[in-house]
Symmetry: C2
Subunit: 470 residues, 2 copies
Amino acid sequence: MKNLKQLNDRIISRVNVNLKEFDFDTGNFVENTLDYKKMLKFFAFYGITAHHPIHFHFMESNIAGSYFLGKCYVKRSAVYKTDVRGDELKRKGDSIQCAKDIPLQEDEFISIKDSLLYKTLVHNYSHNPESPEEFSIRNTVSAHYANIHGTTIEGSFLGPFATVDLMALHSCIVGEFSYIQAEELFHQRIDPGTVWIKNEDFNFQYTFKKEVLDNYVGITDSHQPRGMIYDFVQQREGDYEKIFETVNPKPLKAPANSAVSRFAVTKGDTQIGENVLVAQRAFLENAEMGGGSNAQENSYIINSKLAGLNVTAHGGKIINADMGLKVFVGFNAFLNGKEDARLVVGNNCIVMPHTIIDNDIPLEIEENHVVWGFIRNKKDLEKNSIHVDKLAEHQGKLKLGRMTFNGSGRKFFDAFTGRIEHILEANGAYCDDSSNRGHAQDDQKIAFNLIQPYRTGKKKGIYPEIQINP
Amino acid sequence: MKNLKQLNDRIISRVNVNLKEFDFDTGNFVENTLDYKKMLKFFAFYGITAHHPIHFHFMESNIAGSYFLGKCYVKRSAVYKTDVRGDELKRKGDSIQCAKDIPLQEDEFISIKDSLLYKTLVHNYSHNPESPEEFSIRNTVSAHYANIHGTTIEGSFLGPFATVDLMALHSCIVGEFSYIQAEELFHQRIDPGTVWIKNEDFNFQYTFKKEVLDNYVGITDSHQPRGMIYDFVQQREGDYEKIFETVNPKPLKAPANSAVSRFAVTKGDTQIGENVLVAQRAFLENAEMGGGSNAQENSYIINSKLAGLNVTAHGGKIINADMGLKVFVGFNAFLNGKEDARLVVGNNCIVMPHTIIDNDIPLEIEENHVVWGFIRNKKDLEKNSIHVDKLAEHQGKLKLGRMTFNGSGRKFFDAFTGRIEHILEANGAYCDDSSNRGHAQDDQKIAFNLIQPYRTGKKKGIYPEIQINP
């Protein structure tokens, strides 16, 4: 186990150096998080398909429970039950859009070095024009259920359930349950519960009240998560562990043009429509997935019905809800309807990332609305939603409840709807027999290779070096 | 699937060139053997322990169902459910004994190129002084349950249940159920059912009657195996397939100093003593494994009791038998006692490789005997056994039934007992707390990595290139 302990010490010292101005000791988090027994218990795996370029290189790392699909390099890191993907890696000759289009000189790859990613999702769809070929995560620690999404990152700490989206981050601390999409940040500390979307055209900001946040996602003295959302995922952890115990579990019945990952949990009366993608580590229980819907990694859909073309982003949770057509539910949103107080969301609604809806009486969100923040009832909804037409017409400053907006509402709306369309297309929601294939069609025939660490000796817990090429 | 078909064609043409003098078409065997569906169904795996140097390199091959432990290189080959091992690979600085000791310049590795090994065991403990660093198998096809044991080999065809042992083989055909250990052979065709052990000190030979052989291991026109022994293993094939369906099956209860492979089948009331090794793909059903016993790959021990320090070599089968202390059962021996006609084998007996005992009335072999050939009853036994003392005293020619011997009985006996001691030591039969560790102790904490081929596209059935280093 000697090498694994050295690995952690090295990661801690690297991250601490980057964060020294904040007087932040990552060791406090790391030493209270890593369960060495579990790091030995789970296998890592990688997918092989004819549709993704296979290049993996894992060195001096523990990658227990993690999943790799695209070109990926991991060195001196602990990547524990992290869903790294890479099925949207750019290829040589592709361009990254910037002031000027920048063509890639070689295939893009994901590189994770000197980092600890603990139950973190990395799903690259990167936009960093400074290193288009390398999606890099360095000297970084991210806590439980953080999402590193299209964000190159170095020297940073992400708290539990934090999301960094389509940006670049240098020497920053991102508080628990914060969502940021702010182009590029240097040496900043983001308060917990901040939802912040900013570019040259607009600036959206919402911050959860401390007492609300504490109830849903708090942290202990050692930065361990606590609160209702953490309890919710913890209670379902055992179901994922069972998945690791069978090599080829009996798949859920699904149409030929839909993909249900064998590493997803599916329970109860769950039904899958056409062109549906259910990603690994998604959790479906009594879920009705309408045509073209997707359930992304770490999403939970329980006792709920999705009408069709629904996007449930990474970490999104939908419980006791009826979702209309083409409803988007953002990262880590927590939609907690009750058995006797269902939540109804109308067609074309956009539920912003990190939204918490926790209604104890029936609640309906009318169609074509954008919603955010913390909502328990109809009254909260008034201050936490806007009709898409009204948003699209808006220009300049807007304050609604705890939300502030400045800039072009049209551009904000277009950015969201454009992205939703991209997600639907990429996931194969619009596939017909001859064209518009996506993950729902291409990810069906994945072969999974399972790899494990040394079980004894000084390398105990470390994986042998492994290189895979086509 | 295109590449997989090309692979087979290439192997066939390579082997045929080497065997052209015999007018032998390997294609006849290969084309009737390979079941492409099965080559996609099973995963290959390799073991990681702190005790074996890990270096694997697999290229342009299908290695479905096979198991790798030591340093191994596989290129342009189909290695299907083959137990390659390599836990006795020599290291840099070790010597190979020859006229003069030859020190190794680098760690030994197993190299398999342009070959098809179909349910074949490769377990190297090589003695080829010409290439001490490379245990090489090239341009070779081996059929069901053949054993390539310590034998470097090129341009050859091994029939079903054939064994080549501690030698070197060039452009040879070895008939079904033949066992040869004859130093080095060039361009020879070995008749089916030949048991031949030869060196400068002695020459042992036995050949099964054709009609007897046909009953136990025959071949069809396309060199596919048939007969009672093949039916016996075929009937139990399903039990092995189940092993592939769970990642970490519940292990059989065994003492801390014993190892039962998670890829072994264990059924009924099976009991494991101290310092016992049960290798992958061993099959135990109502088996009592006395202290220090081992059941090697592809061995079957059914309704039988092994008193202790028993060696059951690769492919050995023991059914309805009571085995005394330190009984050795050689490769592919078939000891077929009946429920109402048990077979009793006394202490220190040596059952030669490829011996068939098939008694319909109770039969007892007295202690300290060497037995060989085909035995159904007491009368057969007289012509197919010799007391070890009598053997050790013998010098010169000896003919007994269908067996001929010439040379030093003492050296023949010493060679066998020396080898049995080596096997017991290497497997950890003599381990006490502080010393004499072997496979039974070191193989317990193996981590297994499971790898699979492409499931679609032109590479369907071919494994991605994979390199693993410590």
